[in-house]
């Protein structure tokens, strides 16, 4: 009984493990992410494909994130309706990106404090797990409706 209970706690702990906070802690990871994002967005804005989705390019099956960059580009251009239609998670993606960028701009001390707060929030709410789960559900719905 105890073992079961322990197992449950372990699973829920792992699902609520902070993901964004450790990223915010490390400046060079954000720099790496930022560079990747800038390249991806810039190349997408030029109507080219920068990052090849391994699933889409090989199997022809769009993954849950396919279309997200284009949707973020549209959102950044103020075309929010088109952006939402293309990928409903565009505002979430943009918000997370802005959050991380804002985090990097903070002085080290403040950044660590912000990261700690973010970690607590992620642990309590399981925000990233919920977002990931809803993205998967959204993906399944998208495939079922539009194929």
């Amino acid at each position: 009984m105890k073992a079961d209970r322990f197992k449950m706690t372990a699973v829920s702990d792992r699902l609520c493990t902070p993901v964004l906070a450790p990223v915010m802690q490390s400046r060079w990871i954000i720099a790496l992410l930022g560079a990747a994002t800038v390249i991806q967005v810039a190349v997408t804005a030029m109507d080219l494909t920068a990052w090849q989705c391994p699933l889409k390019s090989t199997l022809g099956v769009a993954c849950p994130g396919c279309g997200l960059t284009r949707a973020i580009v549209l959102l950044a251009q103020g075309k929010w309706q088109a952006a939402i239609h293309l990928h409903a998670f565009a505002p979430v993606g943009l918000a997370i990106g802005l959050l991380l960028v804002a985090g990097t701009l903070l002085p080290a001390k403040l950044r660590h404090r912000a990261a700690e707060h973010l970690a607590t929030f992620e642990r309590r709410s399981g925000m990233v797990a919920w977002l990931a789960l809803s993205a998967l559900i959204y993906w399944i719905c998208r495939i079922m409706i539009y194929i």
């Binding site: 190349v43 080219l48 920068a50 090989t58 022809g60 239609h85």
Partner: protein
């Protein structure tokens, strides 16, 4: 030759990329937890790639990550070398090989089409004025009468035009142009299925009739059958590679199938050939730069 090499190289790179992605993803699930793995999947593998580089030393996968990086960077380098048009073709080829599913988004179904590029303007085809190279005396008048009804890219009285073409066809049932033009009358009457039958008959009579393929593609497009439309535009361009309208129409079909890169590539090609409506519309809507 280059196309053939790229045609082999691209699917091969994609396949190796997928295998590497799966290997790193398994490691991500194992060492980073389920959440990290799910994030890797929902970010098209981008998060897995970054995570892989962060952990490459501790998990001894430097070589694997270098290989993955090469696979990701190669298409960009090839793009620089061969240009957008060729890469567009390659992506299309991969999509065809992979059996790209028709993931039509709401945005495309609603079509925020610029009024200047409404369906009729974009896809109407100017009929050949010299429809009958050696007209029989008894049907010349019907051809001329029907053609006289053609104005601004469509028949001003498609019902009457259809009747005239009926008579022209009755006089000469082997006249491909007459079927093609009656198909256009059906198209204007929004009787797309009959239009398809007429265009098909025109193609049966003249299998290299590029304009009839283009028109049949338009009819399929009107019925939202974009894959058939694309196939017809491809045929049309095979027989008439510099056919601006077919490029523009195929661009529209690609757009409906959410193949934005190919769509832009076709709009640009159409513009190079003198029809810039598609490119202008796409640029205004932020799809092509």
């Amino acid at each position: 030759m280059t196309e053939m090499i790229l045609g082999i190289l691209f699917p091969l790179l994609s396949l190796v990329g997928l295998i590497v992605f799966i290997i790193v993803l398994i490691k991500q699930f194992k060492h980073g937890g389920a959440l990290q793995g799910i994030l890797g999947i929902i970010t098209c593998g981008l998060w897995t790639f970054i995570w892989g580089w962060i952990k490459h030393k501790s998990l001894a996968m430097t070589k694997l990550m270098i290989l993955w990086t090469i696979i990701q960077v190669t298409p960009l380098i090839l793009f620089g070398v061969f240009g957008a048009a060729m890469m567009g073709e390659m992506y299309k080829m991969i999509g065809e090989i992979a059996g790209d599913p028709k993931l039509v988004m709401k945005q495309n179904q609603e079509r925020t089409v610029n009024p200047r590029l409404n369906r009729n303007n974009a896809r109407a085809k100017l009929p050949k004025r010299t429809v009958n190279k050696a007209p029989a005396a008894n049907n010349t008048d019907w051809n001329a009468a029907a053609l006289a009804l053609w104005q601004n890219g469509q028949y001003n009285d498609p019902d009457k035009a259809k009747k005239y073409w009926d008579k022209a066809i009755a006089a000469n049932p082997r006249l491909a142009e007459a079927y093609n033009n009656r198909g256009l009358a059906f198209y204007n009457l929004k009787q797309h299925q009959q239009a398809i039958e007429d265009f098909s008959q025109a193609i049966r009579i003249n299998p290299k009739y590029a304009e009839a393929y283009n028109n049949r593609g338009n009819a399929y497009y009107a019925l939202d059958q974009y894959q058939q439309a694309e196939a017809d535009f491809n045929q049309s361009l095979q027989f008439r590679p510099k056919y601006a309208r077919a490029h523009l129409n195929r661009g529209l079909a690609f757009f409906q199938m959410q193949k934005v890169t190919e769509s832009c590539s076709d709009f640009k090609r159409a513009c190079d050939l003198g029809d810039c409506d598609g490119l202008q519309w796409a640029m205004q809507n932020g799809f092509c730069k």
